[in-house]
Symmetry: C2
């Protein structure tokens, strides 16, 4: 009997964890992704602010499964999933039949329907976003260095970061550090005092998912490092030269970085499926898509009905745990085990963010919290640990050491790619 | 009295050497380039074949002159030079007056007027060329892995390198190494035997600028490593799926890498200037543009009339030496020194190329030649030495050590940039 076919759509944290867990199992696994690499999204802002290379956080998927007997990767864009005929349709017309299907398509930036804001904002979800932000920020500095008109300079030198969660906090901290390095030095005609980094958050404090203590700590550190924090502020409108807040405040700026939320990337999923709040696909407590045998959805795209835990956060840990859980379910099924599995339970191992040099916040499930140097060191080692590949770990660690000792974010190149590959 | 203004157009090897030599001199220097980095072009093929990161060979120009009192950089595209009004015109309309002007605009790929070939070929002159080649080659492998039609597979897996000089030799050697790494491993459906790397050279041997001994050595090594070498072969035509040689041979291929020659990038120079063979601007033995006081041209864009040396090769050493020579001329002039300088003399320090692991060729001026491991080691250390920046040297050395020990070209990512900066 031929091995059963498992198709995994998406090679983010969830899809990759699922594929790795199925490596060596008696199934044929096909992992699909639009890109040929797994992306370590939590460090995108470090690429965007000139510290890391794209290749440090993007690991080629085929390299991960080089020696695998049963896991294959294919770079492909999925056009849709036909749950009735049990095939995955690719945009090139190919149809891939499956016995088991794992939907792990992740999430995209959520602009809450505001197309005008989406058009002029830079997100931080894809690798191209990070290089785009690096190119854009450096180009603004280049232009400001040669610009004499005060109003134009002001817009070029104002960087608005929307969203005070971990991404927004980390990104504005790293931007402040980059500006300390280049203002008046690389760009002799730009003084540090002219540069404004404005962090806009809708709630009354930063890091809402953390305790008030940690949120206030982050706010204090960022303020000290020159970030202008506007809480209880919502973005209403934006164009290429400005952003307007809900209270009518208009900020002249040519840069808007968007980290105010994500929504499930569910384009490929059958439209008839039930949706949870925020458009996540409804799955049962075993991460099964109701009414479709052998079909699972994990990570940001799905939300399980868990009795005790409520909705799971759209973060990498639930995605990875869900991926491994589903892999085990599939292995049990193909091995003919009849045992009823216990429902998926998400084990919260804590959350963390870095505000910049020597300043991190870490929240552990027992209520234990770290700030400052210890919080930063914890953040550092956890991120090194989860990066894929020995070489990438060494490279990232080397870059952080370089920055720590030299106060330098060296990759300040404006790089166009003559691309004829993806996207 | 205000300092005199020196404008340098182009921050390649010649322009950068000139600007560095003028650092600290009693002149105001403005260095212009389309990109915000100096590019170490000899290693572009290492980026294209997945060993180095773009940032390893691209050094931000502003970082070089951070602490300079008198050298400033501006990223700008020059529209033209008006020698009569003594201004440099930028595409954004700005006009930059000069007292001294150094034209160092370098060279571009020479397709000898064959527009059809230019359209489908990938050059190796700009950083975007290297990322484009990496994206393209990896995309061909991705597509071949899923392709079942034999003719389509053949075109996808045939890589034609045109030009058997150092760039073509190094590039085909590195491509062969990359294919050894990925065929049958990353790409399980692609066998190494299916992949053809064809090196096309018009002359009767490789490395024409070197001795026949070194050329034949390179040919022997490349052949042993699986490169199919066609000497006395010229490219007549090409389209997206094939290349046709002058003798009528048609090769099915989706990849053509062009390293068959360069021509001066002289778009910005006044059209009325005298040209030498191959369109290089004629300058006198002091690198002065005739009839234009204080205007110099160096490097690939210009060819001096040197009594004893003939035409200078379009390589980095004459550009760097020319840049420093002109800088000294300008310093003498502003200091009011009346001494007549001796004409520019190019000191040939030797040429070298690597054919791959443990195999290099080095030619020294006295007639001394190295091949094999010693030739390779010489190549390695000279290239590390000329790379700019401590961090870039460490990073490149680390990457070479990684490849040497692990047989790995790890940066196998297909990376689109969401670019809104240059180009």
């Amino acid at each position: 009997m031929a091995d059963q076919r498992v198709v995994i759509v998406g090679a983010g944290f969830g899809g990759l964890a699922c594929a790795r867990k199925l490596d060596g199992a008696p199934v044929q696994v096909l992992l699909l992704d639009r890109h040929n690499y797994h992306l370590f999204t939590p460090l995108l802002y470090q690429v965007a602010t000139g510290l890391l290379n794209p290749s440090d956080i993007a690991y080629p998927l085929r390299a991960i499964f080089r020696r695998s007997r049963n896991v294959r990767f294919r770079q492909a864009t999925v056009d849709g999933v036909d749950l009735g005929r049990r095939v995955v349709r690719l945009t090139d017309g190919a149809e891939l039949p499956f016995d088991y299907l794992v939907l792990a398509t992740g999430s995209v930036d959520n602009y809450f329907g505001n197309e005008a804001v989406a058009r002029v904002s830079i997100g931080l979800k894809a690798l191209a976003d990070a290089t785009r932000m690096r190119n854009h920020v450096l180009t603004c500095l280049e232009r400001a260095d040669a610009e004499t008109e005060p109003e134009a300079r002001r817009a070029l030198l104002t960087f608005v970061v929307v969203g005070g969660g971990p991404t927004g906090v980390e990104c504005s901290g790293a931007l402040a550090e980059l500006m300390d390095i280049v203002a008046g030095k690389d760009y002799h005609q730009v003084s540090r005092d002219e540069i404004r980094i404005i962090l806009v958050e809708g709630a009354d404090r930063l890091l809402n998912a953390f305790s008030p203590h940690l949120g206030h700590y982050a706010q204090r550190i960022l303020t000290r490092r020159g970030v202008d924090i506007r809480t209880r502020a919502l973005v209403k409108a934006a164009d290429a030269r400005s952003v307007t807040l809900a209270d009518g405040t208009r900020i002249d700026c040519e840069t808007i970085i968007w980290s105010a939320g994500v929504r499930p990337n569910d384009e490929v999923v059958d439209a008839s499926l039930a949706r949870f709040r925020n458009h996540r696909v409804t799955v049962d407590a075993w991460l099964r898509v109701p009414g479709a045998t052998g079909v699972y959805a994990i990570g940001d795209v799905a939300s399980p009905k868990l009795g005790d835990q409520g909705e799971l956060p759209m973060l990498s840990p639930p995605a990875m745990q869900g991926g491994r859980y589903v892999a085990q379910t599939i292995v049990d099924a193909v091995r003919g085990l009849q045992r009823e599995r216990s429902p998926f339970h998400y084990l919260d191992k804590g959350t963390m963010a870095t505000v910049g040099r020597n300043a991190g916040v870490t929240h552990l499930p027992g209520g234990l919290e770290f700030t400052g140097f210890i919080g930063w060191l914890t953040w550092l080692f956890v991120h090194i640990y989860y990066l894929i590949g020995f070489r990438n770990r060494i490279s990232a660690l080397g870059s952080w050491a370089w920055d720590y000792v030299r106060h330098d974010r060296p990759i300040r190149i404006i790089l166009a790619t003559g691309n004829d590959g993806a996207e």
